[in-house]
Every structure is written in C-alpha cells, then in structure tokens.
C-alpha cells in the first residue's frame, strides 16, 4: 500500500520542464513589462533610463498641461465594457441554462454542445461576420432604421452597439458553462417549498435559487469580465476609430506610437485588474462555514 506521502517525492521532477517553460515564457516576460513600465521611452522608440513613475502618472491623468482625462477615460471605458458585457451575458445565460437544464438528457447534451461549438471557432471570423450582419444595407440595419433606431441608409456597424453585440456573442459561452454547472445541481424542492410558503417569483429566485447558483454566476462573471476588459479584436473590428479601449491602446503604444514603457504600464494595469478579479472570485466563492 502506497500512501500519498510515499508516492510523493521522486516523481516531482516530472513537473520541472513544464514549470521551467512557464517560468521562461510567462513569468520572465511579465516581469520584463513590469520593469520596462518604470523606464523612459528612447528618442526613436525603445526604452532606457532614467527610472520613473511618469508612465503611471500619465495613466492616472497627469498630462503635460495639467489634468488630461484621456487615459483614465480609456481605462474606465474598458472596465465598463467588461462589466457591461458580463452583465448582459448573465441576463442571457440564466434563462439559457434554465432552459438547457429542463431538457431531457439527450437533448441537454446537444444543447450544451451547441453552446460550446462557436467558442471553438475562430473569433476573428465570427467578429467580421457581424460587420456584414450589422453593416449598412443589411437586413438588421434596415429593420433598425424602420423603427427609428438609426437614420435611413446608416448601418448598426460601426458603433458601440455593434461592439456590445460582438462581445456578448463571443463571451456568452464563458458565462453559460460555469453557470450551467451550478444550475444543473439546483435543488428545486427548495424553490417549490418557498413558493408553497407564499413567496412570489422574485422572492423565490432571490432566496431559494440565487444562493444555489451564485458560485457559478461569480465564476462566469470573472471569466467574462477579465478577458472582455482587455479585448482587442472586437472593438478594433466593430467599433470603428472612435472606440479607444485598453486593448487597442496597448496595441497602439507597441505599434504606431512606439512608446513601449507607456504600453507596458498599461499592460501592467491589465495584470492588476486580472489579479483583483481572481482574488475577488476566490473570496466570493470561499467555502462557507454556515449557510446564509
């Protein structure tokens, strides 16, 4: 009989190549952007001394001519987009997962697979497809102008609306899958008991259903919010030139603007957002001692 402690040891070196790889191509590069974010842009791009916190000051709104809200606005807008995407995904994922959980076993598998399949197809392709579906002259744009949502001859793309549609369509599976894991296990007798005791629909949801699906909703929210905040392809292809966001701004600093230290500082802000998000998830989904 081998106990865990005995099986331990010798085999640990199995992990060395994988950990070594991630150390080299994940940890070192992230440390590198952290370091460079405190350096100064060279005259022709590149970076060098002196060490400075100027990049972070610029991000926080200290411009050369006093307060410049450009970057705080970009950051706030990205967070709002991530948050909004997560909320919309939640609103759609709850009915969707309840629908799927109510199907018989065979159909449930098909319905779930159908949610997952688009997630594995190319994001770029699905995004440019929305250019066609929402562009001027498309059926949806004409319908929207008929009801007065946009002017005749205009398109729904490029716009914030198009970005929102593209984001929700892309991120919904990330929300639906973890949420479904909770919904599938839902104990409906609690909901029925609450209803029998005279709770209205909202009270049943709030007190009998929500506490049960909360862990899945939190996991889904973080899984959508984090990548949505830094999304670069969807706003780039669907938003037109007007929609500067964190992802595009980072790309611009490493591309045309050639200000790597400033771009690195933005990327570090992205990392901090990720860290806070992961921490929040762990904290919100921590094992509880007493049920509320």
């Amino acid at each position: 009989m081998h106990t865990a402690a005995q099986r331990q040891d010798k085999g640990w070196w199995f992990g060395v190549p994988g950990i070594g790889w991630l150390g080299m191509f994940l940890v070192l590069p992230l440390l590198a952007i952290f370091a460079v974010s405190f350096l100064t842009r060279g005259e022709y791009g590149g970076y060098g001394l002196p060490v400075t916190i100027e990049n972070y000051r610029r991000l926080a709104g200290w411009g050369e001519l006093g307060f410049d809200p450009l970057y705080p606005v970009i950051l706030g807008r990205s967070l709002a987009l991530g948050f909004g995407t997560a909320v919309l995904c939640f609103l759609l994922a709850v009915p969707l997962t309840f629908f799927v959980a109510g199907l018989n076993e065979r159909r449930r598998l098909v319905a779930l697979t159908l949610v997952m399949v688009p997630f594995w197809t190319n994001l770029l392709v699905r995004t440019y497809a929305w250019q066609l579906l929402l562009g001027p002259g498309s059926g949806l744009s004409e319908a929207a102008s008929t009801v007065g949502f946009i002017d005749a001859g205009e398109g729904l793309y490029p716009s914030w609306f198009a970005v929102a549609v593209g984001m929700v369509a892309d991120f919904l599976p990330f929300f639906a899958l973890p949420l479904y894991a909770s919904v599938e296990k839902l104990d409906w007798t609690l909901a029925e008991a609450a209803a029998d005791l005279g709770a209205n629909r909202w009270q049943v949801f709030r007190h009998a259903v929500w506490p049960q699906i909360r862990p899945g909703a939190v996991a889904g929210f973080i899984l959508v919010f984090l990548p949505a905040t830094g999304q670069f392809v969807i706003p780039d292809l669907l938003g037109g030139a007007k929609t500067a966001l964190l992802g595009n701004a980072i790309q611009q600093q490493f591309g045309q603007s050639r200000d790597w230290p400033f771009g690195s500082a933005m990327a570090c802000v992205g990392l901090v957002i990720m860290g806070v998000g992961l921490f929040l998830q762990r904290w919100l989904n921590r094992p509880k001692e007493v049920a509320p």
């Binding site: 697979t113 190319n122 980072i250």
Partner: protein
C-alpha cells in the same frame, strides 16, 4: 418559478441565433456567386477553388500548420508531465503551480502578446536569439496551450483508480513499467483530447501570432485579419469556413474522447 417557461425557451433560441448567425452568414456567403454585396446570386465553389491557387493562402496555411503541430506536440508533453507531477507526486508548492497555470487562462491575450514581444526583444539584444518568426510564435502558443492540456489530463488522472497502479506494482512492475504500461495507456484519451484543444487554440490564435510573428511568418488568422482590414472577399469566407470546420471537428473529437470512461 418553474424549470421551463416560454420566456426561458425564447431567450435560449435568441441566444442560439446570436451564436450561430455570424457562422451561418460566413458559410453561406462562401458559396455565393456574387463577388460583393449581400445578394444571393447562385451557388458556386469558385472561391474554394481559388484558395488552392492563392500563394499567400498556401504559405499562411503552411505556417499555421507548422506552428499548430509543433506547439501542440510540445504542449502535450509539457502539459502531461506537469499534470502527472501535480496529481501524483507534488505535495508542496501545488498552490503556486495552480496559480501559475491560471495566469495564461485569465490574462488578456494582448498583455501576454506584448509581454512576449518585449521579452523576445530583450533576448535578441542580449543573446542574439529569438528573432521574430516561427520560433517565437511557437514559443508563445506553447505557453497558452500548457494549462489547457494540463487541465484535461488532470481531470482524467483524477478519475483513474489508484488501485490499478498499485496492482501493477504489487505484481513487481518497476516505476517505469507502471508508467509505460498502465498510467500512459489509460491517460492517452485525455492526452489526445487535450492536444486537440491545444491544436484548435493554436490554429485560431490571432493576437499572439500577430505580435510575435515577423515577415514571412503570417498565420491564417493574421492573413484573415489583414484581408478584413482591406475589405472582405468571398475567398476569405471560404477560408474562414474551412478553418471553422477544422476547429469544430477537432473539438468534437476531443469532447468524445473526454466522455469515454476510464475503464
């Protein structure tokens, strides 16, 4: 509140429409004879035929396949060994490795991409290695593939009966024999499933390939992106359709393998 209601069904169907409308329009227009516009002018396979004589597409396809096959093979080995170490051998430091594995999953693509770009630049300046090109794209892909392979393989390991290992050991098998003749064969469906997912991740990646690539290492998604920026053509629909078909097939196979029971 009931399990099923007309409201839930209506939203569910709307969601499926939202998920499949973009895919459907690309597939449909890849067979449309019209050069431009949204009108249907009869079915054709012309756009697919043209793909096979388009040199840029051929070269992008070659780059994508080299990258996907190489990175997947590397990630399969690195992810599997890491999963084995985590599930069977490591006791201390597991939390740290779990955290490390979460980073590539949660970090925004663009942050990983520019971090790698900067890192490769430093390596180039200091050690004259990692000129941007195939090698750097492969290195980047392996990095985000490892956690997915490790995740799938770990799930399989967790479902395996430790008694099998012990039975082999009691019958006198050495550690290597146990690994080679018991653990590895049982693990194989998991490894293949993880590799399939890693393959589609590599094939579909745009952001890391875009930043870590150099001239002459344009992958299919990067080619599609630059074409979309110039204006979409039906050929791009045809290429996109093929790309989606490969991803879907690979994923379905992976999911079927994962569902197979550990006997």
């Amino acid at each position: 509140m009931r399990r099923s209601s007309w409201f839930n069904s209506a939203v569910a169907w709307a969601v499926y429409a939202l998920l499949y409308a973009p895919i459907a329009i690309v597939v449909v227009f890849s067979f449309n004879a019209a050069r431009a516009g949204m009108e249907w002018q009869g079915a054709t396979l012309d756009w697919y035929r043209r793909l096979f004589v388009n040199e840029q597409v051929q070269s992008a396809l070659k780059v994508s396949l080299i990258v996907a096959v190489t990175s997947t093979a590397m990630a399969a080995v690195l992810g599997t060994t890491l999963a084995l170490a985590l599930e069977k051998h490591m006791r201390r430091g597991r939390e740290w490795v779990n955290g490390l594995l979460a980073v590539p999953v949660f970090v925004p693509d663009i942050v990983l991409a520019v971090a790698l770009l900067l890192f490769f630049g430093l390596m180039r300046d200091w050690f004259k290695v990692f000129e941007l090109g195939l090698t750097t794209i492969i290195a980047g892909h392996v990095t985000f593939q490892i956690p997915f392979v490790a995740m799938v393989v770990r799930a399989r390991l967790a479902g395996m009966d430790p008694a099998l290992d012990e039975a082999a050991r009691d019958l006198g098998a050495t550690s290597w024999q146990v690994f080679r003749h018991v653990t590895l064969p049982l693990l194989m469906p998991g490894i293949v499933a993880g590799a399939m997912l890693a393959f589609t991740l590599s094939l579909d990646d745009f952001v890391v390939s875009f930043f870590s690539g150099g001239p002459g290492s344009t992958t299919l998604p990067v080619y599609i992106y630059s074409s979309v920026k110039r204006g979409v053509t039906p050929e791009i629909h045809a290429l996109s359709t093929l790309l989606m078909a490969v991803s879907v097939i690979a994923t379905v196979v992976a999911m079927m393998l994962q569902r197979r029971d550990v006997r």
